[in-house]
Amino acid sequence: MRVLFFAHLKDLTGCAEIRLQIGAPASADDVWRELLALHPELALVRGSVRLARNLEYAGPNEQFTDADEVALIPPVSGG
């Protein structure tokens, strides 16, 4: 799957996007486990970050696959 970082998460991870292989459909927790293995620094912000899957906020029981575009959405500040 494609994982996108925005705003200060780009500073934190040093990149705007990465690719993750998860194989079977996975829960948000599984995705976070993979992400933290690559970017442990994300643990600092996990509590405030929402996951989006294919341009929509992910629900609590959302399943993620390798074909998805996933985005980490830190607290927003538009307007």
Partner: protein, 538 residues
């Protein structure tokens, strides 16, 4: 409901065009503009930078409007949100709502704004850097030029010192105080060829009692009426003398007649240059021909200097071929190896160099344990995000801890700086040659100077622009290649045309880097600008 939502990098039209709804249906058109204020978190600002997950942001705004439309039925909604840098006083957002009556239009507008600020993936990253994020951890903002220099310097310490022969010491940095072992000169000596006579002897004719040449050592007390013939550099036989130049004297066998006597004693006094124990060279001095000659004159033939750093340079990239090879379609010649080698050459450092493919296993095999035995590891990566990650992984596998992965400078944004417990340093340099040139000449140079034991110094001085320079109003600090020359007694800098950060033509002519502050789109000719000389001024 007629909905039109757009993100834009240009100014938002003022006012928004009123949407055409059915004749006579709309009784209210309400427009709200969100304008950038001159302060953020109590600090004065010039602009805000907006960033969005664009596709999702548009979708989310539409979803919110549709949702609110059920609760507050309206006729039309227009939303324009700006991205990129928005100067103070300009609108970042404009929302227009047309409704039959003002109440539902006002209600929709208010609710939309609340939900936008909660759910729509748009950020002000520079404001985020100022705010306190959840958890109390301040996210690092990307460092600018001065911060990068400070962090690099803070991450390195001088290498050990060693004693080397004078012949090997040129260009090295001295690590000890060198004192005069004795007075310099060690005895009073004559500054001219002439005749030494007593200062208190008013006679004008003398008998010559000795002839002293440089290297002779024959002390004696001069009696009135006697003189000593003495050569330049010759040791004076006693105190209280003056030397009269031979041009002012007439020699007659064993006698001399003085034609003129001046007040000048023509003597170079003992200790005139330096007293015994006086410091002549301080730690941090670069040993150049003059200081080496001084060391030789003092008999200091094994000065204590910083050892040379061991440097490994790794070029990564599947598309890179050696410069002597003709590139296939899609390949490019490796110019960075040559650039890095020449740059390090100006520090008398010869790097070991490797070219590896963008494959972790292959790269690791090619590098072996070489990264363990270095003081400085330079990795030239590609400019893409993936290649940048690859460099980070290589460094971490070699035991380095990454200090930062990106900077707020252009070029050189994806610069990695890392340190290791044994004191070794690493840089992951973005692949394009101009970024290499900039990062080498500022950041790697700061590290090399610190490793060498040189005192920290400011690389930048000020000059005047010979022509206008435009940096696109980027929110990053820009380092612009330039040619600085002295014309009519004044230095001026001509910015070199720079198309892309891969531009080698600008690099070939550059002898300086201009430092343009962030958010400074245009500097006109005649403006003052900070610049740093690069290592090969011509």
């Amino acid at each position: 409901m007629d909905i039109d939502i757009q993100l834009t990098r240009g100014r938002i039209p003022e006012p928004l065009p009123i949407p055409v709804t059915g004749a006579g249906t709309a009784g209210a058109w309400i427009e709200f503009r969100g304008v950038v204020r001159g302060e953020e978190e109590g600090l004065p600002i010039a602009a805000l930078e907006y960033e969005a997950y664009e596709e999702m942001a548009v979708r989310e705004m539409r979803r919110i409007v549709e949702d609110l439309g059920r609760e507050c039925p309206c006729l039309a909604v227009r939303v324009r949100h700006r991205l990129g840098v928005v100067p103070v006083g300009e609108a970042a957002l404009s929302v227009g709502v047309a409704g039959r009556h003002r109440n539902e239009a006002l209600a929709l507008l208010t609710k939309f704004m609340d939900r936008l600020k909660h759910d729509v993936p748009i950020w002000k990253p520079r404001a985020l850097a100022l705010a306190n994020p959840p958890g109390g951890v301040r996210p690092p903002s990307a460092p600018g030029v001065e911060q990068v220099l400070a962090r690099v310097r803070a991450g390195c310490r001088p290498l050990e010192a060693e004693r080397v022969a004078l012949r090997d010491a040129a260009g090295r940095v001295l690590r000890e105080v060198v004192c005069a072992p004795e007075d310099q000169p060690p005895f009073d000596r004559s500054a001219v060829d002439g005749f030494a006579v007593r200062l208190d002897d008013p006679a004008d004719e003398f008998s010559i009692v000795d002839d002293i040449r440089a290297g002779d050592w024959r002390p004696r007390r001069l009696q009135p009426g006697t003189a000593v013939r003495i050569a330049t550099g010759g040791a004076l036989p006693c105190d209280g003398l003056q030397v009269v130049m031979k041009e002012a004297a007439q020699l007659d066998g064993a006698r001399v007649r003085l034609l003129r006597r001046h007040s000048s004693r023509n003597i170079r006094s003992r200790g005139e240059e330096a007293r015994a124990g006086q410091a002549l060279l301080e730690p941090g001095a670069v040993l150049r021909p003059g200081s080496l000659a001084l060391l030789a004159s003092l008999g200091q033939v094994q000065p204590l200097v910083t050892r040379r750093p061991r440097v490994l340079h790794v070029v990564t990239g599947d598309e890179i071929v050696p410069p002597e090879q003709a590139p296939q379609q899609g390949q490019i010649r490796d110019s960075n190896s040559t650039l890095v080698r020449a740059f390090l050459g100006s520090f008398d450092v010869e790097p070991a160099q490797l070219r590896v493919a963008d494959d972790r296993a292959q790269a690791r095999a090619a590098m072996g344990d070489r990264p363990q035995a270095v003081d400085l590891l330079l990795v030239s990566g590609g400019a893409s995000v993936g290649e940048h990650d690859f460099t980070g992984v290589l460094l971490e596998e070699s035991g380095f801890r990454i200090d930062f992965r990106r900077t707020n400078t252009r070029p050189g944004k994806p610069l990695i700086f890392a340190t290791r417990e044994d004191g070794a340093l690493a840089f992951g340099l973005p692949g394009n040659p101009l970024a290499h040139f900039v990062c080498l000449n500022l950041f790697v140079r700061a590290a090399l100077e610190k490793l060498a034991g040189l005192p920290e110094r400011n690389f930048f001085s000020t000059t005047v622009l010979a022509a206008e320079v435009r940096s696109d109003g980027d929110s990053r600090e820009t380092l612009w290649p330039a040619r600085v020359k002295v014309a009519g007694g004044c230095a001026e800098a001509t910015p070199l045309p720079w198309c892309s950060s891969g531009d080698l033509t600008a690099l070939a002519a550059a002898n300086a880097l201009l430092h343009l502050p962030a958010g400074c789109p245009v500097l006109s000719a005649g403006a003052e600008v900070a610049f740093a000389s690069t290592l090969t001024p011509a």
